[in-house]
C-alpha cells in the first residue's frame, strides 16, 4: 500500500527502515579487534651516559681553557708592569746621589717658586683655559 505525505513533519522518524543483521554491533566489535594488526611497542632509544654528559663536559672544558688563557695573559702583562714600575720607583743608587747633590746647590725661596709656577701657567695659556671653563659659562 502506498502511503502519502507532503511534509517532513508527517514522517514517523521513530521507525527506522534501515536494518542490521542480528547482534551485528556485538559481532562487529569483536571481529574488528581481531582484524587489527598488533601495534609494535616502540621503546624510546636508551642514550648512553657519555652521550648525555658530553655537551656539558665540552662546555666545562671550554670555560677552563678560557680561564687558563686569561690567567696566562694576565700574568704576562702583569710581569711587564711590575718590571716597568721597578725601574721608575727604584732608581739606581748612583743616580739618586746625583739628584740630591744637584738640589742641594739650588737656592730658591718659596715666593720665587710660586712666581715661577705662575709664569709657566701664563705661558702655557692655562689661565685663559680656566677662565673660559669656570667663569664665562
Amino acid at each position: 500500500m502506498k502511503s502519502h505525505f507532503n511534509k517532513l513533519e508527517e514522517i514517523d522518524r521513530t521507525r527506522n527502515p534501515f536494518k542490521v543483521p542480528d547482534n551485528y554491533f556485538t559481532r562487529f566489535n569483536e571481529e574488528m579487534m581481531n582484524r587489527l594488526p598488533e601495534k609494535k611497542i616502540v621503546h624510546p632509544p636508551t642514550i648512553p651516559l657519555w652521550d648525555k654528559v658530553k655537551p656539558w663536559i665540552y662546555m666545562a672544558a671550554m670555560f677552563v681553557g678560557m680561564y687558563l688563557t686569561i690567567q696566562y695573559l694576565t700574568k704576562q702583562s702583569g710581569t711587564g708592569n711590575v718590571a716597568s714600575r721597578q725601574t721608575t720607583v727604584q732608581p739606581s743608587p748612583g743616580e739618586g746621589a746625583r739628584t740630591e747633590a744637584y738640589w742641594s746647590t739650588v737656592q730658591v725661596t718659596e715666593e720665587e717658586f710660586y712666581h715661577y709656577l705662575e709664569e709657566q701657567l701664563v705661558e702655557e695659556g692655562y689661565f685663559d683655559y680656566m677662565y673660559d671653563q669656570y667663569y664665562v659659562n
Partner: protein, 183 residues
C-alpha cells in the same frame, strides 16, 4: 561520551601497553553511531559495513597522529565522512555518473538491500535526499536523522553554525518540494 570518560580513553590509547584495550572500548563506544552516519550516506548495509571497518583500521593506524586537539568523536566522524564520500565518488565513476548529477542510482542499491524494509514513503524520502548536493545532504542527514547539535556538526564539517543552519533550511525546503511534486 563524557569528558572524563574520553580523557580516560585517551590515556589508555596513549599507553602502548593498554592501547589495544583502549581501542576496543573506542570501537564499542562509537561503532553504532558511526555506522548509522555511514549507512545514511551510502544506504546499503554491506557498503556501510565495509566502510566502517576501513574507518577503524585508519583510526588504528593513525592513532599516533591524533594529538587530541579535537574530540575523539569529531576525529572519528571526520574519518567516517571522508571514507563515505570517497566511496560515493568511486561508485559514481563506476556508474558513469557526473559530479553534478544526483545519486539516484543509489536507490537501486537500496531497493535490493535485504536490510531495508522501508515502504514507499521511506523510499520517496531517500530519493528526495539524494537530489540534494553532497554537502547539503550530509548536513540534512546529521541533523534530521542523528539529531546532532549544530556546534558538533560545525566542528566535524569545519563550517560555521550559521552556514549549517542555512544549509539545513534549504535542504528541508527542497525535500518538501520534491515530496509535494512526487505525491
Amino acid at each position: 561520551m563524557e569528558k572524563n570518560n574520553e580523557e580516560t580513553l585517551l590515556e589508555a590509547l596513549r599507553n602502548p601497553h593498554t592501547v589495544r584495550q583502549g581501542f576496543a572500548s573506542l570501537v564499542s563506544a562509537y561503532s553504532e553511531r558511526l555506522y548509522w552516519q555511514i549507512r545514511k550516506m551510502v544506504l546499503s548495509h554491506d557498503d556501510a559495513n565495509d566502510i566502517l571497518q576501513d574507518v577503524f583500521v585508519k583510526a588504528w593506524s593513525n592513532l599516533e597522529n591524533f594529538r587530541g586537539d579535537a574530540k575523539l568523536t569529531t576525529w572519528l566522524y571526520r574519518i567516517a565522512i571522508n571514507e563515505s564520500i570517497t566511496f560515493l565518488h568511486k561508485k559514481r565513476s563506476q556508474n558513469h555518473v557526473s559530479i553534478d548529477s544526483d545519486d539516484s542510482f543509489l536507490i537501486n542499491l537500496l531497493e535490493s538491500d535485504p536490510y531495508f524494509d522501508g515502504d514507499d514513503a521511506a523510499i520517496q524520502l531517500q530519493k528526495a535526499i539524494l537530489t540534494l548536493p553532497e554537502k547539503q545532504r550530509l548536513v540534512f542527514q546529521m541533523k534530521y536523522f542523528e539529531e546532532m547539535k549544530y556546534d558538533e556538526m560545525s566542528e566535524i564539517l569545519g563550517t560555521s553554525v550559521g552556514a549549517l543552519k542555512a544549509s539545513y533550511h534549504h535542504a528541508v525546503k527542497k525535500i518538501e518540494k520534491f515530496l509535494e511534486e512526487n505525491n
